[in-house]
Protein backbone atom coordinates (compact mmCIF):
# COMPACT_ATOMS: atom_id res chain seq x y z
CA UNK A 1 0.00 0.00 0.00
CA UNK A 2 2.77 2.45 0.86
CA UNK A 3 4.44 1.56 -2.46
CA UNK A 4 1.26 2.60 -4.32
CA UNK A 5 1.19 5.87 -2.39
CA UNK A 6 4.78 6.66 -3.39
CA UNK A 7 4.14 5.68 -7.01
CA UNK A 8 1.12 8.01 -7.28
CA UNK A 9 3.08 10.97 -5.86
CA UNK A 10 6.02 10.31 -8.21
CA UNK A 11 3.66 9.95 -11.20
CA UNK A 12 2.06 13.34 -10.46
CA UNK A 13 5.51 14.99 -10.35
CA UNK A 14 6.52 13.23 -13.59
CA UNK A 15 3.38 14.40 -15.40
CA UNK A 16 3.89 17.95 -14.12
CA UNK A 17 7.46 17.95 -15.40
CA UNK A 18 6.72 16.54 -18.86
CA UNK A 19 3.45 18.40 -19.28
CA UNK A 20 1.74 16.01 -21.71
CA UNK A 21 -1.21 13.83 -20.84
CA UNK A 22 -1.21 11.25 -23.66
CA UNK A 23 -1.79 7.62 -22.73
CA UNK A 24 1.70 6.49 -23.77
CA UNK A 25 3.30 9.13 -21.58
CA UNK A 26 1.18 8.08 -18.58
CA UNK A 27 2.20 4.44 -19.08
CA UNK A 28 5.88 5.42 -19.33
CA UNK A 29 5.53 7.60 -16.24
CA UNK A 30 3.98 4.73 -14.30
CA UNK A 31 6.88 2.46 -15.28
CA UNK A 32 9.49 5.06 -14.28
CA UNK A 33 7.71 5.77 -10.98
CA UNK A 34 7.50 2.04 -10.19
CA UNK A 35 11.24 1.57 -10.77
CA UNK A 36 11.98 4.69 -8.68
CA UNK A 37 9.68 3.49 -5.86
CA UNK A 38 11.38 0.07 -5.86
CA UNK A 39 14.76 1.78 -5.56
CA UNK A 40 13.51 4.15 -2.83
CA UNK A 41 12.07 1.43 -0.49
CA UNK A 42 9.47 3.67 1.23
CA UNK A 43 8.80 3.04 4.90
CA UNK A 44 5.45 1.47 5.72
CA UNK A 45 3.04 3.87 7.39
CA UNK A 46 -0.68 4.10 8.08
CA UNK A 47 -2.73 5.04 5.03
CA UNK A 48 -6.32 5.96 5.80
CA UNK A 49 -8.27 7.32 2.87
CA UNK A 50 -11.14 8.55 5.09
CA UNK A 51 -8.78 11.05 6.72
CA UNK A 52 -7.84 12.49 3.32
CA UNK A 53 -10.41 15.37 3.09
CA UNK A 54 -9.64 16.67 6.61
CA UNK A 55 -5.90 16.43 5.97
CA UNK A 56 -6.25 18.19 2.62
CA UNK A 57 -8.29 21.02 4.14
CA UNK A 58 -5.74 21.39 6.96
CA UNK A 59 -2.94 21.41 4.36
CA UNK A 60 -4.64 24.20 2.39
CA UNK A 61 -5.16 26.28 5.55
CA UNK A 62 -1.55 25.65 6.61
CA UNK A 63 -0.23 26.78 3.22
CA UNK A 64 -2.42 29.90 3.20
CA UNK A 65 -1.37 30.92 6.73
CA UNK A 66 2.27 30.27 5.81
CA UNK A 67 1.97 32.40 2.65
CA UNK A 68 0.44 35.32 4.58
CA UNK A 69 3.21 35.03 7.21
CA UNK A 70 5.92 34.98 4.55
CA UNK A 71 4.58 38.07 2.77
CA UNK A 72 4.11 40.01 6.03
CA UNK A 73 7.56 39.29 7.41
CA UNK A 74 9.14 39.83 3.96
CA UNK A 75 7.77 43.37 3.90
CA UNK A 76 9.01 43.84 7.47
CA UNK A 77 12.55 42.75 6.55
CA UNK A 78 12.45 44.98 3.46
CA UNK A 79 11.62 47.97 5.68
CA UNK A 80 14.49 47.09 8.02
CA UNK A 81 16.94 46.88 5.09
CA UNK A 82 15.77 50.20 3.63
CA UNK A 83 15.96 51.99 6.99
CA UNK A 84 19.19 54.04 7.15
CA UNK A 85 19.62 53.32 10.87
CA UNK A 86 19.36 49.51 10.38
CA UNK A 87 17.16 48.89 13.47
CA UNK A 88 18.00 45.25 14.23
CA UNK A 89 18.18 43.51 17.59
CA UNK A 90 19.43 40.04 16.65
CA UNK A 91 19.44 37.17 19.06
CA UNK A 92 18.92 33.43 19.34
CA UNK A 93 15.78 32.42 21.24
CA UNK A 94 14.67 28.92 22.20
CA UNK A 95 11.22 27.86 20.99
CA UNK A 96 9.57 24.64 22.12
CA UNK A 97 8.13 23.00 19.01
CA UNK A 98 5.66 20.88 20.97
CA UNK A 99 5.56 18.17 18.31
CA UNK A 100 6.07 14.54 19.25
CA UNK A 101 7.15 13.19 15.86
CA UNK A 102 10.38 14.06 14.08
CA UNK A 103 8.45 14.98 10.93
CA UNK A 104 6.39 17.54 12.83
CA UNK A 105 9.52 19.09 14.31
CA UNK A 106 11.18 19.23 10.91
CA UNK A 107 8.14 20.85 9.28
CA UNK A 108 7.89 23.39 12.11
CA UNK A 109 11.55 24.23 11.62
CA UNK A 110 10.93 24.63 7.88
CA UNK A 111 7.95 26.91 8.47
CA UNK A 112 9.97 29.04 10.88
CA UNK A 113 12.94 29.26 8.50
CA UNK A 114 10.92 30.03 5.39
CA UNK A 115 9.67 33.32 6.82
CA UNK A 116 12.35 35.99 6.39
CA UNK A 117 13.48 37.34 9.75
CA UNK A 118 13.60 33.99 11.53
CA UNK A 119 16.14 31.24 10.96
CA UNK A 120 16.49 27.95 12.82
CA UNK A 121 20.16 27.45 13.76
CA UNK A 122 19.98 24.30 15.83
CA UNK A 123 17.58 21.58 16.97
CA UNK A 124 18.16 19.42 20.03
CA UNK A 125 16.86 15.96 20.90
CA UNK A 126 13.82 17.23 22.83
CA UNK A 127 12.56 19.16 19.82
CA UNK A 128 13.54 22.66 20.95
CA UNK A 129 14.20 24.98 18.03
CA UNK A 130 16.98 27.54 18.52
CA UNK A 131 15.86 30.35 16.26
CA UNK A 132 17.89 33.36 15.22
CA UNK A 133 15.58 36.39 14.97
CA UNK A 134 16.28 39.77 13.43
CA UNK A 135 14.12 41.41 16.10
CA UNK A 136 14.40 39.17 19.13
CA UNK A 137 12.44 41.37 21.56
CA UNK A 138 9.24 41.53 19.56
CA UNK A 139 9.11 38.11 17.97
CA UNK A 140 9.69 36.17 21.22
CA UNK A 141 6.04 36.18 22.29
CA UNK A 142 4.59 36.40 18.80
CA UNK A 143 6.42 33.29 17.56
CA UNK A 144 5.12 31.10 20.39
CA UNK A 145 1.47 31.77 19.45
CA UNK A 146 2.12 31.07 15.78
CA UNK A 147 3.91 27.86 16.72
CA UNK A 148 0.93 26.62 18.79
CA UNK A 149 -1.49 27.18 15.89
CA UNK A 150 0.95 25.53 13.44
CA UNK A 151 1.27 22.49 15.72
CA UNK A 152 -2.49 21.95 15.76
CA UNK A 153 -2.69 22.07 11.96
CA UNK A 154 0.33 19.77 11.55
CA UNK A 155 -1.15 17.20 13.90
CA UNK A 156 -4.22 17.08 11.64
CA UNK A 157 -2.15 16.58 8.48
CA UNK A 158 0.29 14.01 9.89
CA UNK A 159 -1.19 12.05 12.83
Amino acid sequence: MHYIRTIVILLIIYLALTGNLQLSNIVLGTLVSTVAALLLRPQPGPTDLRRLPAAGWALIRYTAILAVDVVKSGIGVARIVLDPALPIQPGIIAIDSGCDSELGTALSAHALSVTPGELVIGIDKAGTLYTHCLDATHSAEYVADAQAMRRDLLSKIFP
Partner: protein, 111 residues
Protein backbone atom coordinates in the same frame (compact mmCIF):
# COMPACT_ATOMS: atom_id res chain seq x y z
CA UNK B 1 -7.48 37.98 -21.13
CA UNK B 2 -4.01 37.91 -22.63
CA UNK B 3 -3.48 41.57 -21.80
CA UNK B 4 -4.50 40.87 -18.21
CA UNK B 5 -1.96 38.04 -17.93
CA UNK B 6 0.73 40.29 -19.39
CA UNK B 7 -0.13 42.94 -16.80
CA UNK B 8 0.25 40.39 -14.00
CA UNK B 9 3.58 39.22 -15.48
CA UNK B 10 4.92 42.79 -15.67
CA UNK B 11 3.88 43.43 -12.06
CA UNK B 12 5.49 40.18 -10.87
CA UNK B 13 8.74 40.88 -12.72
CA UNK B 14 8.97 44.41 -11.27
CA UNK B 15 8.27 43.31 -7.69
CA UNK B 16 10.60 40.31 -7.97
CA UNK B 17 13.45 42.46 -9.28
CA UNK B 18 12.86 44.95 -6.47
CA UNK B 19 13.09 42.17 -3.88
CA UNK B 20 16.30 40.85 -5.50
CA UNK B 21 17.84 44.32 -5.23
CA UNK B 22 16.69 44.57 -1.60
CA UNK B 23 18.19 41.17 -0.79
CA UNK B 24 21.60 42.03 -2.24
CA UNK B 25 21.45 45.44 -0.50
CA UNK B 26 20.77 43.68 2.79
CA UNK B 27 23.60 41.23 2.07
CA UNK B 28 25.98 44.19 1.83
CA UNK B 29 24.59 46.28 4.71
CA UNK B 30 23.98 43.68 7.43
CA UNK B 31 26.70 43.46 10.11
CA UNK B 32 27.31 39.73 10.55
CA UNK B 33 26.81 36.32 8.97
CA UNK B 34 23.51 35.37 10.60
CA UNK B 35 21.69 38.57 9.71
CA UNK B 36 23.01 38.33 6.15
CA UNK B 37 21.35 34.93 5.83
CA UNK B 38 17.95 36.56 6.44
CA UNK B 39 18.51 38.96 3.55
CA UNK B 40 19.71 36.32 1.09
CA UNK B 41 16.87 33.96 1.89
CA UNK B 42 14.50 36.69 0.77
CA UNK B 43 16.01 36.74 -2.74
CA UNK B 44 15.33 33.09 -3.36
CA UNK B 45 11.82 33.17 -1.90
CA UNK B 46 10.45 36.46 -3.26
CA UNK B 47 12.71 37.32 -6.21
CA UNK B 48 12.87 34.02 -8.05
CA UNK B 49 9.39 32.80 -7.08
CA UNK B 50 7.77 35.99 -8.41
CA UNK B 51 9.75 35.70 -11.66
CA UNK B 52 8.58 32.09 -11.97
CA UNK B 53 4.98 33.20 -11.37
CA UNK B 54 5.42 35.57 -14.31
CA UNK B 55 6.65 32.62 -16.38
CA UNK B 56 3.67 30.51 -15.37
CA UNK B 57 1.28 33.35 -16.28
CA UNK B 58 2.87 34.01 -19.68
CA UNK B 59 3.68 30.56 -21.04
CA UNK B 60 0.90 28.07 -20.23
CA UNK B 61 2.90 25.10 -21.53
CA UNK B 62 5.48 25.47 -18.77
CA UNK B 63 2.85 25.42 -16.03
CA UNK B 64 4.02 22.18 -14.37
CA UNK B 65 7.75 22.86 -14.63
CA UNK B 66 7.38 26.31 -13.09
CA UNK B 67 5.29 24.97 -10.22
CA UNK B 68 7.77 22.12 -9.54
CA UNK B 69 10.62 24.66 -9.53
CA UNK B 70 8.68 26.90 -7.11
CA UNK B 71 8.10 23.95 -4.75
CA UNK B 72 11.78 22.97 -5.03
CA UNK B 73 12.89 26.49 -4.15
CA UNK B 74 10.46 26.96 -1.26
CA UNK B 75 11.36 23.59 0.25
CA UNK B 76 15.09 23.80 -0.42
CA UNK B 77 15.86 27.43 0.37
CA UNK B 78 15.37 27.24 4.17
CA UNK B 79 17.34 23.99 4.28
CA UNK B 80 20.31 25.74 2.66
CA UNK B 81 20.02 28.69 5.06
CA UNK B 82 19.83 26.36 8.04
CA UNK B 83 22.91 24.40 6.86
CA UNK B 84 24.98 27.57 6.44
CA UNK B 85 23.82 29.05 9.76
CA UNK B 86 24.44 25.81 11.64
CA UNK B 87 27.94 25.56 10.15
CA UNK B 88 28.67 29.17 11.13
CA UNK B 89 27.58 28.53 14.72
CA UNK B 90 29.57 25.28 14.82
CA UNK B 91 32.89 26.89 13.88
CA UNK B 92 32.18 29.74 16.30
CA UNK B 93 31.61 32.84 14.20
CA UNK B 94 30.49 35.55 16.66
CA UNK B 95 27.24 37.50 16.48
CA UNK B 96 27.45 41.28 16.43
CA UNK B 97 24.97 43.46 18.35
CA UNK B 98 23.30 40.35 19.76
CA UNK B 99 20.97 40.84 22.72
CA UNK B 100 20.52 37.20 23.76
CA UNK B 101 21.88 33.79 22.81
CA UNK B 102 20.04 30.79 24.21
CA UNK B 103 21.97 28.24 22.18
CA UNK B 104 25.42 29.23 23.53
CA UNK B 105 24.13 28.90 27.12
CA UNK B 106 22.99 25.34 26.37
CA UNK B 107 26.24 24.37 24.65
CA UNK B 108 28.48 25.64 27.47
CA UNK B 109 26.82 23.51 30.14
CA UNK B 110 27.93 19.89 29.72
CA UNK B 111 25.02 17.43 29.51
Amino acid sequence: MHTFLEFIAILAVIIGTAFSVLGVLGFIRMPDVYTRLHATGKVSIFGVVLLLLATVALTPLEFGKGLVLIVLLVVGGPVTSHAIGSAAHRIGIPMKRAIRDDLAAIEQTPP
